[in-house]
């Protein structure tokens, strides 16, 4: 497993480094504007940026033929799928650490940046990243990495779309539910925690589906 993770890192190390620098730069710019809308982006963008090279790996592996060769190595097919998902999670955490780091620095310099709301934005960012992985991996295994650019685009649209759809649905629920039931609840936290848990479950379900698709694949 370590070898597979290492291989993925070597394959897209340059992209990871570029996205890392770009993420810090953009998050810093967004934060220092202190515009509320852009502050949300500061919590989203690094996480999304950092996971996109993880999806790029599949394209590299297919283009080079590694996806065929890897099956001859002393590894199970499940190890290959697991390594893809694990690498995705590792990059997602790096993205999250960038966000936390930039927010902490901004808080020290500007104050009132690392507010409670910022934590919810980060949770939402992780949720959107889970949707990306949830859609991209099974679809790429199924349709082939030649379509990976289109799949990545669909995943990003689906991730952001699902987030806005969930927000709208949540608002509708709040409107229609008796105010007594919701009394004393932190609505933002409830939404972000709910979105995170649901997308995490979807991500786990997608791993099971991707594994089944990958086991049937021929190279």
């Amino acid at each position: 497993m370590k070898g597979l993770i290492l291989n993925q890192y070597y394959a897209i190390g340059n992209s990871v480094r570029n996205y890392f620098v770009l993420s810090i730069f953009l998050a810093a710019v967004f934060l220092f504007t202190q515009n509320e809308w852009l502050l949300t982006f500061a919590a989203f963008v690094p996480i999304i940026f950092m996971v996109s090279p993880a999806l790029e790996v599949l394209k590299h592996e297919s283009k080079s033929g590694w996806n065929k060769f890897v099956l001859t190595l002393p590894l199970k097919r499940s190890h290959v799928v697991k390594s893809h998902y694990l690498f995705f999670i590792m990059l997602m955490f790096i993205g999250l650490f960038i966000v936390i780091g930039v927010f902490v620095v901004a808080e020290l310099l500007l104050e009132n940046i690392l507010v409670e709301q910022a934590i919810y934005w980060m949770m939402n960012g992780v949720g959107v990243a889970f949707v990306l992985g949830f859609i991209a991996y099974p679809l790429t295994y199924l349709l082939g990495s030649e379509k990976s650019d289109m799949i990545l685009m669909v995943s990003v649209i689906a991730g952001v779309g699902l987030f806005f759809l969930s927000s709208w649905l949540y608002e509708q629920i709040l409107i229609n539910v008796s105010p007594y039931v919701l009394q004393g609840l932190n609505h933002d936290m409830l939404f972000s925690a709910g979105f995170l848990v649901i997308t995490l479950v979807l991500f786990i379900v997608s791993y099971v589906i991707a594994l089944q698709v990958y086991k049937r694949k021929e190279f």
Binding site: I12, H60, S64, F69, R216, E218
Partner: protein, 285 residues
């Protein structure tokens, strides 16, 4: 247990094409090199893919080291070295990084042996694989296959793209590997002269069916290509005829025992290339 690899009635059909492997059976004895010969699309790569598990076989059995092959059996795969017909290594990596990756995948990875082959094949350590020529890539693939103490090598067109010197180097390495009585090699190649140089046994395949499986020495000593006309052809024992091909008024005939053929019929000098051509183009009786 006398065979390192036993393939028994292997069947494989593709859903999107008419091609199929039909009851492919053969074995590789320990300490031998088996040449796998056939045209493009004959079924060599499909057979190898079905053995290795990159393709799902429809039926039949594949035993490696006496055990039924299963892609989940890691100890079997640990002991197989594979080279495909094209580079199948991550292009963004260098030889150094690749060594590091395999060191973390193969339990038996031997970095010293890998370094030895990298030096032997004069491969650059810090250049990205994407910048390698086809010949360099094939040498690198062979170096990897030989660097984890594998006992069985499965090589699909491993000599393709190499210059004559490179091919010679590679064949020497494979010959030395194959001499060990714990080892075995299945080697496919379009370049039959390569197979002729190192193989002990030959398997000819066409349209997914094995046409001939024979010991090389026996083939060269006992078999014959006859050149005859229609009248002479009918006097040949048809049980001896493997295949024949009409060429104008003449017929080229491959027979399995030159001693049992009427002495009056002309016997041609032949190479494995001639046998291959006759098998691939000829008709069965």
């Amino acid at each position: 247990m006398s065979s390192i690899l036993e393939v028994d009635h292997l069947n494989k059909q593709y859903s999107e094409s008419d091609f199929a492997l039909k009851d492919v059976s053969f074995s590789i004895p320990y300490g031998s090199i088996v040449g796998f010969i056939g045209e493009n699309g004959a079924g060599k790569s499909t057979t190898m893919g079905s053995i290795l598990g990159t393709l799902h076989k429809d039926g039949g059995s594949v035993k490696i080291f006496g055990e039924e092959m299963n892609v989940e059996k890691l100890d079997i795969k640990e002991n197989i070295g594979v080279v495909f017909d094209n580079i199948h290594l991550p292009e963004a990596l260098t030889v150094l990084k690749l060594g590091n990756v395999f060191n973390n995948i193969y339990e038996q990875w031997d970095q010293e042996t890998f370094d030895h082959y990298i030096d032997l094949f004069s491969l650059p350590r810090k250049k990205k694989i994407s910048g390698f020529s086809r010949g360099m890539s094939m040498k690198l693939s062979v170096a990897i296959a030989l660097s984890h103490n594998a006992d069985l090598l499965i090589l699909d067109e491993a000599t393709a793209g190499l210059d004559p010197t490179g091919r010679d180097e590679l064949l020497d390495v494979l010959r030395a590997f194959g001499k060990d009585q714990d080892h075995g090699i299945l080697l496919s190649s379009h370049i039959t002269s390569d197979i002729e140089k190192i193989a002990d046994d030959l398997i000819f395949i066409k349209d997914g069916t094995i046409l001939l499986n024979v010991n090389k020495k026996e083939l060269m000593k006992q078999y014959a290509i006859l050149q005859c006309d229609k009248n002479e052809f009918v006097h040949i024992d048809q049980n001896l005829v493997i295949t024949h091909r009409k060429k104008g008024s003449d017929i080229d005939v491959l027979v399995s025992d030159r001693e049992q053929v009427p002495a009056s019929i002309k016997k041609k000098d032949f190479s494995i290339d001639d046998i291959t051509l006759l098998l691939m183009r000829g008709e069965k009786v």
